[in-house]
């Protein structure tokens, strides 16, 4: 029973990683860049909810929607101001810029809200459920997180495969030039990708901080890095890969915390990544890029 509880909590944590990883993987697939500021967008989103819901008592759903709007605007603006001018620049320049943006967001948050941790009030109102005569208790946050992740995942895959905007995203991710020749507006498609990724980051932030209720300017950094690992683990650029990578990472982290060592759990997570990349360099579901002339 203990094991089942660890496993379910791992899946829940993994769901959060998966939601964040979606932002990494979609932006990488379509804009061919690693947006290292993604984790910090989550942090900003969580502060929005902290103030809207915690301080002003706004309805929790409305708070999340507000946070999604703020994060979407933030994500699209960052892309427009910081990344778009570097569209033709070497990828190293873009990467360094993204790290710079990440620090910028953290520092701005520190200026605005100080570095002292805030206690985040859970946005989930669902009561925990008890199974097997009380031997297994699953918290409301855990259930909501897993359900939200699955719903978003299914919705996103449907969107990408069945709407013109989704097809445009697939086309841009395969061949930007050819997509332009089809009439796809590449800049608009990249903006849309950032918008979706950032909105998901807001949801991930709400769920993350509801389960782990300490909020400070560096809150997004570690989950951001782990979600990046999850995206690479699952095969960066692949949406189901982000999902699978996230969930597995959450499970591995939680189980190693439970059975091996709390301190070593992060090291184990990264060790698994290294092993996967050694065995399968494109990640679990990553596509091998075939160049055919």
């Amino acid at each position: 029973m203990q094991f089942l509880s660890y496993l379910i909590n791992g899946i829940s944590l993994g769901s959060v990683y998966a939601l964040i990883a979606l932002g990494y993987t979609m932006v990488y697939g379509i804009a061919k860049m690693l947006n290292f500021a993604h984790g910090d967008v989550i942090m900003i989103g969580s502060y929005v909810i902290f103030f809207a819901f915690g301080s002003f008592g706004l309805n929790p759903i409305l708070s999340i929607v507000l946070s999604m709007v703020v994060c979407t605007i933030l994500g699209v603006t960052l892309e427009r101001v910081a990344y778009r001018p570097l569209r033709e620049a070497p990828s190293l320049a873009v990467l360094i810029t993204a790290i710079g943006v990440s620090y910028l967001l953290q520092q701005v948050a520190q200026l605005l809200w100080t570095s002292s941790p805030k206690s985040f009030q859970s946005v989930v109102g669902l009561a925990p459920i008890s199974l097997f005569n009380g031997e297994l208790t699953i918290s409301g946050e855990t259930i909501v997180t897993i359900v939200a992740c699955v719903v978003i995942m299914v919705g996103l895959i449907w969107f990408v495969n069945h709407t013109p905007a989704g097809h445009a995203m697939l086309a841009v991710s395969e061949d930007r030039g050819a997509a332009q020749l089809m009439g796809v507006n590449v800049n608009a498609t990249i903006s849309l990708t950032f918008a979706i990724g950032s909105a998901l980051a807001a949801v991930a932030g709400a769920l993350l901080c509801s389960s782990y209720p300490t909020l400070q300017p560096t809150t997004g950094a570690m989950p951001g890095i782990k979600a990046f690992v999850a995206a690479v683990f699952g095969g960066i650029g692949s949406i189901p890969g982000a999902f699978l990578g996230g969930i597995l990472l959450g499970i591995i982290e939680n189980l190693s915390k439970a059975y091996i060592s709390t301190q070593l759990s992060d090291a184990i997570v990264f060790l698994v990544l290294i092993i996967v990349l050694l065995v399968k360099p494109t990640g679990l579901l990553g596509k091998k890029v075939n160049v055919k002339v």
């Binding site: 097809h167 086309a171 395969e174 030039g177 332009q180 020749l181 089809m182 009439g183 796809v184």
Partner: protein, 238 residues
Amino acid sequence: MGEMLSVKNINVYYGSIHAIKDVSFHVDEGEIVTLIGANGAGKTTTMHAISGLLKLKSGEIDYCGQIISKMEAHKIIRLGLAQVPEGRRVFSGLTVQQNLQMGAYTRRDGKEAIANDFDMVYELLPRLKERRSQPAGTLSGGEQQMLAIGRALMCKPKMLLLDEPSMGLSPLLVKEIFKIIRDVNRNGVTVLLVEQNAKMALDIANRAYVLETGTIKMEGEATELANNIEVRKAYLGC
């Protein structure tokens, strides 16, 4: 028949390389015009300049009475100027059907009109119909070329730019592709064809231009150029 596309004194740079030097040519409505030349002559650069993937340093490109040289690539295709790019560049992860659907991305004239064009394309290229639900990456080179042409036709172009459609194909397939190009032209689509295979290109074209190291060296009726001593020596190998 009026002038459809007119390229006026364009200069294009790749970084510091002056790839296209003061090139001018025109294509009239209904024609097949070919641009022949060796590797590195600047043929693909010219194509990319027309379709908006590359920006001009100077000069102007007009299409149907509109200046398109300052327009973005995704807007140019909305004017009915489609390109079949060099190396086909089909979306290999998408199915044949989805690739064709991508070709119709800009169209807003209703599902029925698009369905009609699916039928038209499948009739013109029956092999694509057999493979409609296969990922494009699993097609042979010839089939991918057909798909690239079909995809371009799905936007209902008035003019088609074809960049090296014969590249990497067996002689038999080259013949088939050129027959398709002629059929497309007979259906009222103006064609600008860039080719290294000068013999085949001159065979189906009305007029031709010879491009050498970024400049137009010769121009004239296709039959005329095909009999020209210099062209025969340099491009036809006889």
